[in-house]
């Protein structure tokens, strides 16, 4: 199908994009990044913006930089660049594993990390990894920059803390610093989106868990931290039994009635999948520790 008519503006800088947002604040305006969610929505008539502001060519929003303990990723960096980056693999292993499982090669060549997170599709693969990686999302608006922890970023389905006059410009991730990460996903057989996806970031000291963060997407209407799983594992031993026990708490803080429930999977089935895929993500991470725990 053809989309409804719209006006197109290409922004060359963050400032220009913000000016365009201000100029068209009275119209229904969408920011165009990789276009892999927005354009299908427009072509199927689900979204009919009057104005498209293309931010995909803004140089300042591209690229991956490791500055000391922080990995900084431009919001318009596409998935393929992330999967090919040694810095991402080293400093943000949970995110790296999740990005590898987004869509297919064609999608990964066009889609962007910022587009994924700002769009906040509940079934997207990156919200869980952003939460597990303790990412900070940096947005820029008329009053300058502000930093939003991933924990506070996602409000609900397609809804985030980014204001209508603001732009997500980069994602900052504290280095995993030797920690390991994994993302385990149950893809929809038709769309490939996550029915359930769980990202885990682990740091171990020999047999015991020094730190652990677990985030999930596809389950609730936005990405969520799985605090009870983290609490069950933190400071304890890392083995199959500990992981199984921790995973059984995956849904403790979540209301099954509020879980996503659709043609792909009912909320009850998602609650079950959440436990299984939490266990799988943690097990995959444990297998990457390479320490004595992995030899068990």
């Amino acid at each position: 199908m053809y989309p409804d008519e719209f006006d197109y503006y290409g922004a060359d800088s963050v400032g220009e994009a913000l000016d365009l947002l201000d100029e068209h604040s009275g119209a229904e305006t969408e920011l165009l990044a990789g276009g892999h969610s927005l354009l299908p929505a427009m072509k199927t008539g689900l979204s009919s913006p009057d104005v498209l502001i293309d931010i995909s060519d803004i140089d300042a929003m591209q690229g991956i930089e490791a500055n000391g303990d922080t990995l900084s990723i431009g919001a318009m960096t596409n998935y393929s660049d992330l999967t090919e980056s040694d810095a991402v693999a080293e400093h943000a292993p949970a995110l790296a594993d999740a990005v590898r499982q987004v869509g297919d090669v064609q999608v990964r060549n066009r889609g962007t990390i910022g587009g994924n997170l700002a769009h906040a599709d509940p079934a997207a693969d990156l919200p869980g990894a952003a939460l597990a990686s303790d990412a900070t999302l940096v947005v820029e608006g008329p009053d300058g920059e502000r930093s939003i922890p991933a924990d506070d970023f996602f409000f609900g389905m397609y809804t985030t803390d980014v204001g209508p006059d603001e732009l997500l410009t980069r994602i900052e991730i504290p280095s995993a610093d030797g920690g390991v990460g994994a993302y385990a996903k149950k893809p929809s057989p038709s769309s490939g989106y996550a029915m359930v996806g769980v990202a885990a970031l682990l740091d171990t000291d020999g047999d015991s868990v020094e730190s652990v963060r677990v985030g999930a997407n596809g389950v609730m209407d936005h990405g969520v931290r799985l605090g009870p799983v983290e609490d069950a594992l933190a400071g304890g031993s890392l083995d199959d039994d500990a992981i199984a026990t921790a995973a059984s708490h995956a849904g403790d803080d979540l209301d099954t009635d509020m879980m996503m429930s659709d043609l792909q999977a009912s909320n009850e089935f998602r609650a079950q999948l959440l436990e299984v895929y939490t266990e799988r993500a943690l097990t995959a991470a444990m297998d990457r520790t390479g320490g004595s725990a992995a030899a068990d």
Partner: protein
């Protein structure tokens, strides 16, 4: 035959074989290929019959402006009926060419031998003429028998006197994860008997494609409606057509039992996989779930459907009334492998859709007879 079975139309197919003055051939068939490789298979049939090189043969299908009347492609019938029409027309071409060759070689028609496109006088092989040269002579037409018309082309409306009955056995070996309802293929073996294979590669491809479609039906494809009768699986985002990653590696093999009912002895293959795969896969999954008291499960076997069957089955079991028992059962059965073989009797090739029910009954009874005969 077709009339006795209640078909509203004949089950024939047309084939026109035209040998041009250049010796090249254009063959027209009333079927309509859509990816099955008819152009390849038909050209091989005509090449074999005429002894004219494969590269000199062009196949035309599906153009109502060019072809004679035709019935079309359905029910795995094209090779058996359309191919037989082309073979019959090719044989008529050879008969006519033989008269012209005999005339030109000043021999009697009875003394003519025909092999690999070459007409030769019996006992005097140096007196010979290739059919492509005969074609040129037929159009020059100044030295052909008086009773013969110029030109070299023939048409047949081949009307089979019976259905053909391909048969086969497909075996699916699956592993089911009771915690998630996820199904993994350990092995898939398909052995089909479709008679002589004109092009084994194409036959194998047809089996692969058919099995893929069958697995799609077994595991993924379902048209879902909401309470307002709105189709909610209206896009490829929601309706699962299986992708390459969903289809297992498969082993294929065959036996060869020619059909007595057409000149090529061929039987249909297009639907072999679609017919066998759903039963093989669903029965394998059901077999795997036996420890959970599951003896029936409706397609498509989505992860949730299987997971629910495991839980419901366990709940129905007198020992497994609660969630604890489900989990225990899950552990016992984890990694359980099972296999299920499925005999398939493919739908009769010539069966038209409007007699579908009758033809399927025919398939089951007669197919079984063929089946046991084939194993002898």
């Amino acid at each position: 035959m077709a009339g006795q079975l209640g078909a509203q139309a004949g089950l024939w197919e047309s084939g026109l074989v035209r040998v041009h003055p250049t010796g090249k051939v254009t063959a027209f068939c009333g079927t309509a290929g859509h990816g099955q490789g008819h152009e390849t298979t038909y050209a091989q049939i005509v090449s074999d019959e005429l002894g004219i090189p494969y590269d000199d043969i062009e196949i035309v299908e599906g153009d109502t402006d060019e072809i004679p009347q035709g019935m079309g492609t359905y029910g795995s019938r094209s090779a058996a009926v359309g191919g037989s029409a082309l073979a019959t027309s090719s044989q008529k071409v050879v008969e006519k060419a033989k008269k012209i060759a005999a005339h030109q070689l000043e021999a009697s028609e009875e003394d003519m031998e025909f092999e690999n496109g070459e007409f030769a006088v019996a006992g005097a092989p140096e007196r010979s003429m290739h059919i492509q040269d005969v074609a040129q002579q037929s159009y020059l037409a100044h030295d052909i028998p008086e009773e013969i018309e110029p030109g070299l082309e023939e048409t047949s409306f081949y009307d089979p006197d019976n259905f053909v009955f391909p048969f086969g056995t497909h075996i699916a070996v699956v592993e089911v994860d009771p915690d998630t309802g996820e199904i993994e293929f350990e092995n898939y073996v398909a052995v089909d008997d479709v008679g002589p294979q004109i092009n084994p590669k194409i036959v194998e491809g047809q089996v692969h494609g058919g099995v893929a479609q069958g697995i799609g039906q077994a595991l993924y494809e379902g048209a879902e409606y909401d309470d307002n009768a709105q189709l909610v699986t209206g896009s490829m985002q929601d309706y699962t057509v299986p992708k390459a990653e969903h289809i297992p590696e498969m082993e294929t093999d065959s036996t060869v039992t020619p059909s007595p009912h057409n000149p090529l002895g061929v039987k249909g293959v297009g639907e072999a996989g679609t017919i066998a795969a759903p039963q093989a896969v669903v029965n394998a999954v059901t077999d795997a779930l036996q420890p959970f008291g599951v003896d029936h499960i409706d397609m498509p076997l989505t992860s949730e459907t299987v997971w629910r069957a495991v839980n419901d089955g366990a709940a129905a079991d007198e020992d497994g009334a609660d969630g604890e028992a489900v989990a225990d059962g899950g552990e016992q059965a984890e990694g359980l492998r099972t296999s299920e073989d499925e005999r398939s009797e493919a739908r009769p090739e010539e069966a038209p859709r409007n007699s579908e029910r009758r033809s399927r009954e025919q398939s089951e009874s007669s197919g079984s007879e063929e089946d046991s005969g084939g194993e002898d």
